[in-house]
Every structure is written in structure tokens, then in C-alpha cells.
């Protein structure tokens, strides 16, 4: 079905897609150009994960939930250049969209977690500057909520537990898949169609932005400029220091630049400093500002950046060269990027809309109820 869909779309897009080019648009995982595949999930687990995702009691002081930073109406990002953080801190990176993140092979802008969403969920909940939650306390909070007691049982996880949370939230994340973009429907505007040709052709974007999600899931150095706000604001800089200290970054007090995936690769010659995972290009209309540090507010700025051959960095990917795209070509390219965005994932299918209590119910007859 996928392949039928793909070829019909390509035909309607009127792009002379050579076989070789299609190969370039195939990710390391063999993901092919076309709609992002939906993932099979189990309803009771998704429902549980959805409620947890919107529940502030999952953070240490019960002030924020996953949805405080990953806001459905903003494509599960937050609309800020640099993310907020747990109270008392501020973030030093842009909040990425969670749409299609279940298809990734590694997570975070630096790709520092390469296992699974179960671990990503734990990281989000326990990280000091994100949700700062002792999961043992979280478990006891959940056990105090009769709705969760029921939902965990219905999901087949037994009583509320850390393990159950780390399974249920990923199950919910798996439902956050792009759908119905004009691109997927083969209904792109003329401008977008010509933008697509530029994207895969002269601009060479598909060297890295390939496959259904438009990412090769690899790291590259594009020379994105620094965001000075990180170093200007002590609350953000302090968060960076805590992160860099924990990740074992050398000389972390004196650097003024996000080392990116160097924290994972630790290349001795520093050649991986400033590399970041290629992000998906789906849902861009909802997820600005752009790049790991939100330095670009608009897609115009992003395209101007690439048109100039990317940023200034000795280790920049050699494929990034000045493109000399005309004004029209740039407008078309942006039209194409915009038509990669589909239906917003809002409404009851994706959002827990019933109120979630902030208080807990007393266990009556406590002395005679086993813990």
C-alpha cells in the first residue's frame, strides 16, 4: 500500500523522480518517502499514557507535566526559542516536536540516548532541570489516585509502578504520527511541487532530510550560529553547566558553545563538536522557532541560512555550499516545507481533556489497607 501510495503521489507531484534519487531519500532504517507509517498501539495503554503525559504530579513539585513543554497545539513543542524548564531553572535547548519521535533511532538534539522511548521517558521525568522527580515518590503518588489504579490494571500493568509509566507514555507517543499533509495526499500546490524539486535537486536538502520523516537520523554539522541568550541568562547557562558537568564535557565552565553530539561520540580531535541530529521536517508550521537552540524564528530565516551555505564552522558538512537560489526558488522551497505539515494532533484522541486532580484522595481505613 505504501509503495502504491508513494508512486501515485510522485506522479501527481509531477516530479521526475529518478530511481537513484529515491534511494537517496531512504533513511538508514530503510524508511521510504511517503506518509509516516502509523504504529500499532493498545488502546488502554495509550489512554493511560495520555493521562500521565498531561499530569503535573509527575514532576517533583507537581508544577509541570510533559505537556507544559510539549504542547499539542504547537505540534508538541513549545513555541519558544529556548525551552522552559523545571521551576528554578531555564532550558538551553529548543523543545523538539514529539510527532513522529517514536520512529527515531536516537533522541535529543545531541542523540545522547540511543536505546528506546522507555529510557527517554525516564530521562525526562528524572532529569533535574526537566521534571526533577524521584520515581519512587511518583509511583506512590499514582497509587494514591483510584483512576490510575484502575487504568494501570486495565492496561495489564498491575498496580501503578515506574515500569508501567515508562511503558505507557511511549505507547501514547507512538500515536503521535503525522497525518494528512498535502504532501502525503499528493495535493501539493504548484509552488510546493517546484519547492520539492529544489529540495531534492539543486539545494541538496535530501542528502540529510530523507525518508518519510525527512531525516536520516544522523548527526551533521551545519554551523548553526550560537544563541547568545544561553550565556546571557545565568539560569540558562547554569543549566548548561549542570548538563555539561554530568555529560563529562571538558572545560565546561569556560566553553560558550553547545558541543552537541560530541557528548556521545567524544571524537578526540573534536570533529564532532557542533554536530546535531537531523530533525524531522514534518509539522514545521507548528514547531518554530527552529534548530537545536531556536536561533531562527521563521522558515525564511532557515532557508536564507542554507542559501548562504550554512553557518561558519571549520567542521561544517562540505555538502553545505552557497546555493544562490532566486527569491522565487526560496519561496517555493518554503511552500514545500509548509505542505509537509498535516492535521494538528489535538482533540480527545491526543489530548487528555478531563480535569486531572491536583490533590489526592485519602485511603480510608488506612490501617487495614495493605500498602
Amino acid at each position: 500500500m505504501m509503495s502504491v501510495f508513494r508512486s501515485s503521489r510522485l506522479l501527481r507531484a509531477g516530479v521526475a523522480a529518478a530511481i537513484g534519487m529515491l534511494a537517496a531519500l531512504t533513511t538508514a532504517q530503510g524508511e521510504e518517502l511517503g506518509p509516516v507509517p502509523q504504529i500499532e498501539t493498545e488502546a488502554a495503554r495509550v489512554e493511560l499514557g495520555k493521562r500521565l503525559f498531561f499530569d503535573r504530579r509527575l514532576s517533583g513539585d507537581a508544577a509541570i507535566s510533559c505537556a507544559s513543554c510539549h504542547i499539542p497545539e504547537r505540534g508538541f513543542s513549545d513555541g519558544l526559542p529556548l525551552s522552559a524548564a523545571y521551576p528554578g531553572s531555564l532550558g538551553f535547548r529548543n523543545t523538539p516536536t514529539l510527532i513522529n519521535s517514536a520512529h527515531r533511532a536516537a533522541w535529543f538534539h545531541d542523540g545522547r540516548l540511543g536505546t528506546n522511548l522507555n529510557d527517554v521517558t525516564r530521562e525526562m521525568i528524572t532529569e533535574d532541570y526537566l521534571m526533577n522527580m524521584d520515581m519512587r515518590l511518583m509511583q506512590e503518588r499514582l497509587k494514591q489516585d483510584p483512576v490510575y489504579v484502575e487504568m494501570f490494571a486495565a492496561a495489564g500493568y498491575g498496580e501503578p509502578s515506574n515500569g508501567g509509566v515508562r511503558k505507557a507514555i511511549p505507547e501514547y507517543l507512538k500515536t503521535l504520527i503525522s497525518r494528512n499533509s498535502l504532501f502525503d495526499q499528493g495535493a501539493m500546490s504548484d509552488a510546493a511541487q517546484s519547492g520539492f524539486a529544489i529540495f531534492t535537486g539543486v539545494a541538496g536538502c535530501s542528502n540529510c532530510h530523507s525518508g518519510a520523516r525527512f531525516t536520516d537520523d544522523e548527526i551533521h554539522n551545519t554551523g548553526v550560529p550560537d544563541n547568545p541568550e544561553i550565556w546571557r541568562d545565568p539560569m540558562r547557562h547554569a543549566t548548561f553547566v549542570a548538563y555539561a558537568m554530568f555529560m563529562g564535557v571538558e572545560n565546561y565552565m569556560n566553553i560558550r558553545r553547545d558541543p552537541g553530539a560530541h557528548v556521545r561520540g567524544h571524537a578526540a580531535d573534536g570533529s564532532d563538536i557542533g554536530t546535531f541530529l537531523t530533525p524531522t521536517l514534518r509539522e514545521l508550521t507548528q514547531t518554530g522557532p527552529y534548530m537545536h537552540n531556536g536561533v531562527f524564528a521563521t522558515l525564511e530565516e532557515v532557508v536564507d541560512f542554507y542559501n548562504a551555505g550554512g553557518g561558519d564552522d571549520p567542521n561544517k558538512d562540505p555538502r553545505l555550499v552557497p546555493l544562490e537560489l532566486s527569491k522565487q526558488q526560496r519561496t517555493d522551497l518554503i511552500a514545500f516545507l509548509q505542505e509537509l505539515s498535516g492535521d494538528p494532533l489535538v482533540g480527545p484522541e491526543f489530548v487528555w481533556e478531563e480535569p486531572i486532580p491536583t490533590e489526592y484522595e485519602i485511603i480510608d481505613d488506612w490501617r487495614d489497607t495493605p500498602n
Binding site: 526533577n132 497509587k143 545565568p234 489526592y360 485519602i362 487495614d368
Partner: protein, 379 residues
């Protein structure tokens, strides 16, 4: 399903060992007399200096040494509440309640072991567990240490005091410990009296003293200069009512069982604070707590590890009845027996306990220096 009154059964072996030990102890001990309090011991590896104490004072009041920058040491050790917190169970980190009564830090410098169950060996090692515990400060070393680097006054003081290029979090605990060693009171009416000022105690207090050292026999445990033998006893202090009435307290109660590493089986059954047991995992230590000092107690109500009693009269009435009942009553000390004190005698004893406290200790709350951007070394 467990039903009915829950009791943790002590193994026969536990009992067999406990009884002869107690007998030995009672036979060999002359109770050290009450004595005036001298200067606190200062550890060789953390000497007091003015700058260190000043730094410690600032850090003690600084909410940034905690997860969400809302809860300082001084939040739960409030000088207007006896350097403790005036509720049965201490307030907790936001979104939580603590599970024990907050202790005063006045004179904590003299204890060999800190906390109600003695789980910390020094003020230096107590402070981080307070700042990091999920229902206390909920901070993490890396974030707290990073924050300190962005406060120029702290950078300077850590450099002067410890020679730190960048403030080190371990040194923050040392500075706080040094500050705590200044929070002592050595001139209570009882100190003055014991140093020879015969007018320092009232007639009523003198009658109370006689009971304390005589018929009421408080001196068995509350002895020496600190009025504590620093041993651990189960007096039968009843479990906290809050656990039956407050959902947040129920949550923390269960969390603490997990955090303290009890077995799955015990986790399911337990409904009371097992105290010293969490450290030793000896069933015979269940429900035992460190004898606290009686100094400064005039200001630290409510009393006992869970704040079960709201004033000193209630405490003395509890002793007068020969203690109480809790989930681990098998471990109750037999040093506590019904006393048969009259109402007047109870008042006398309370008056004497009040002689363990001098005037309230108040200090100026420091103005805390703000964050500043860090200059770029490349500029």
C-alpha cells in the same frame, strides 16, 4: 488481604538478645549527671572561620540549594519556630509533606548522630541528605553546584574559604555545618544554676528537678550536658494521626519505606515509623528513636519524632501513664513505667523542662546575592 490490628512480630532470637543487653546496661550505668553545656566539638577537618560561618549562614537561607529554588534549610528550620517547623509532620518539598517532625538545629552541633533515628554521622553529611531528599530539598548536586558558580559573591567566598576555583557543593555543606555549630545555647537557666547561680531556677523548677532525677527518673535517658544519652528507645509513641487523615502523608509514608529499602513484604504491611530499624534492619530496633536533647524544647512544639504531642504537659502526661502503644510495642523499653505523678507534680516537671531553654535565638536574615552572567573567558 491483611485485616485487623497489625503487629510486626519480633523473632524469638531478637528478644533473647535484647533482654540480657538491657539488663547489663541498667546494671552497669551510673547516669551521667545533668551538666552545664560547654563549647561544641569542632572537627579537625572543618575548622571554624568567620568567612566560612558567614558563607554557611547565607547558604542556610538560600532556596537555590534545592530542586525548584523554593525550599531552603531555613524553610523547615525556621528561627521563628524554634529553628524547627511548628507542625506535627514537617512541611515538605512543594507537592509533598515530610513524614517526621522537623528537629531544631539549635545545639545539633553536639550530637554524635543526627536525625530522629541517627542516620547521619556528622553535620557535614547530614546537610546533603536534607538538600537532596525528595520530600525535603529535592536538589541534585550538579544543578546546585552549577547555580553557585553564577553568584559572584559566592565565588569569592568559596575561593577565600576553601580555595575553590569554582564553588564545590561539598564545601557548601561544610560551610553550613560551620554555621550550625554557632547555633548553640549554653546559658539557659539550668546552665546558670549548675554553674552556681542558685537563683536561676524557681522553687517550682527545683521541685521538678527532684522528680526528673528521682521518682520520674527521666535522668535515665535525658542525662549529661545535652540531656540525652544518645541511645535509641521505643517509648510507645503512637503513630501519626496524619497518616490516617492526609493523603499526601500516606504517599510519603509509603515512599519512605521504599527509600529506606524495606522488604516487599514489610512494605505491604507496615503502618508506623520503624525508626532505628531502617538503619540496622534488626526487628528489635523497630520503633526506636534517639533520645533527643531537652534543650531549647520550649520553642520546638510539637514533640516526638512524629509530633504526636502538642505541648510539654502532654509529653509529661504520656510519661506519667507509662508511655503508649505503637505498632512495635514488643520493643517498648521497660525503663518507662507509670509514674503516679499528681497534677501539681506534672506542672513542676514541665517547669523544670522549661529551664533547659534560654531566650529565643534570633539572627539577622542575610540578604542573598543574585545570579550574574558569567564573563566569557575568551573576551
Amino acid at each position: 488481604m491483611l485485616k485487623g490490628k497489625r503487629k510486626i512480630v519480633i523473632s524469638a532470637i531478637g528478644l533473647a538478645i535484647a533482654v540480657p543487653l538491657l539488663a547489663l546496661q541498667a546494671a552497669s550505668d551510673e547516669n551521667p549527671p545533668l551538666a552545664p553545656l560547654g563549647d561544641p566539638p569542632i572537627p579537625l577537618d572543618n575548622p571554624q572561620t568567620d568567612e566560612k560561618i558567614e558563607l554557611g549562614r547565607m547558604l542556610f537561607f538560600d532556596t537555590r540549594l534545592g530542586g525548584d529554588a523554593s525550599t531552603a534549610c531555613s524553610t523547615c528550620h525556621n528561627q521563628e519556630q524554634g529553628w524547627a517547623f511548628s507542625d506535627d509532620l514537617s512541611r515538605g518539598y512543594p507537592g509533598t509533606v515530610h513524614w517526621r517532625n522537623s528537629q531544631t538545629i539549635i545545639n545539633s552541633a553536639y550530637y554524635g548522630k543526627l536525625f530522629w533515628a541517627g542516620s547521619a554521622g556528622s553535620l557535614e553529611s547530614q546537610a546533603p541528605s536534607a538538600a537532596k531528599g525528595a520530600v525535603a530539598g529535592n536538589g541534585e548536586n550538579d544543578v546546585m553546584e552549577a547555580r553557585l558558580a553564577f553568584i559572584p559573591e559566592y565565588r569569592e567566598l568559596f575561593d577565600t574559604v576553601f580555595g575553590d576555583v569554582w564553588p564545590r557543593i561539598d564545601n557548601a555543606w561544610r560551610a553550613i555545618a560551620a554555621f550550625e555549630r554557632t547555633l548553640v545555647q549554653t546559658d539557659t537557666p539550668l546552665d546558670l544554676f549548675l554553674r552556681g547561680d542558685e537563683n536561676a531556677l524557681t522553687e517550682q523548677q527545683l521541685r521538678g528537678r527532684e522528680l526528673f532525677e528521682g521518682r520520674a527518673n527521666c535522668i535515665q535517658c535525658h542525662n549529661g550536658a545535652m540531656a540525652t544519652d544518645e541511645r535509641y528507645y521505643n517509648l510507645g509513641v503512637p503513630p501519626a494521626l496524619r497518616w490516617e487523615e492526609d493523603a499526601a502523608a500516606q504517599i510519603t509514608f509509603r515512599f519512605e519505606q521504599i527509600a529506606k529499602g524495606v522488604t516487599e513484604e514489610l512494605y505491604r504491611e507496615i503502618k508506623d515509623d520503624a525508626g532505628l530499624y531502617y538503619r540496622t534492619k534488626e526487628v528489635s530496633d523497630m520503633g526506636k528513636f534517639r533520645t533527643p536533647s531537652l534543650r531549647y524544647t520550649l520553642y520546638t512544639a510539637p514533640y516526638m519524632h512524629n509530633g504526636a504531642f502538642w505541648d510539654l504537659t502532654e509529653v509529661v502526661e504520656f510519661y506519667n501513664e507509662g508511655g503508649g502503644e505503637n505498632e512495635f510495642s514488643e520493643n517498648r523499653t521497660d525503663l518507662i513505667q507509670p509514674l503516679g505523678l499528681s497534677d501539681d507534680e506534672i506542672e513542676d516537671l514541665v517547669a523544670f523542662i522549661e529551664a533547659f531553654s534560654g531566650p529565643e535565638i534570633r539572627i539577622e536574615v542575610p540578604t542573598l546575592p543574585p545570579y550574574q552572567p558569567l564573563p566569557n573567558p575568551a573576551d
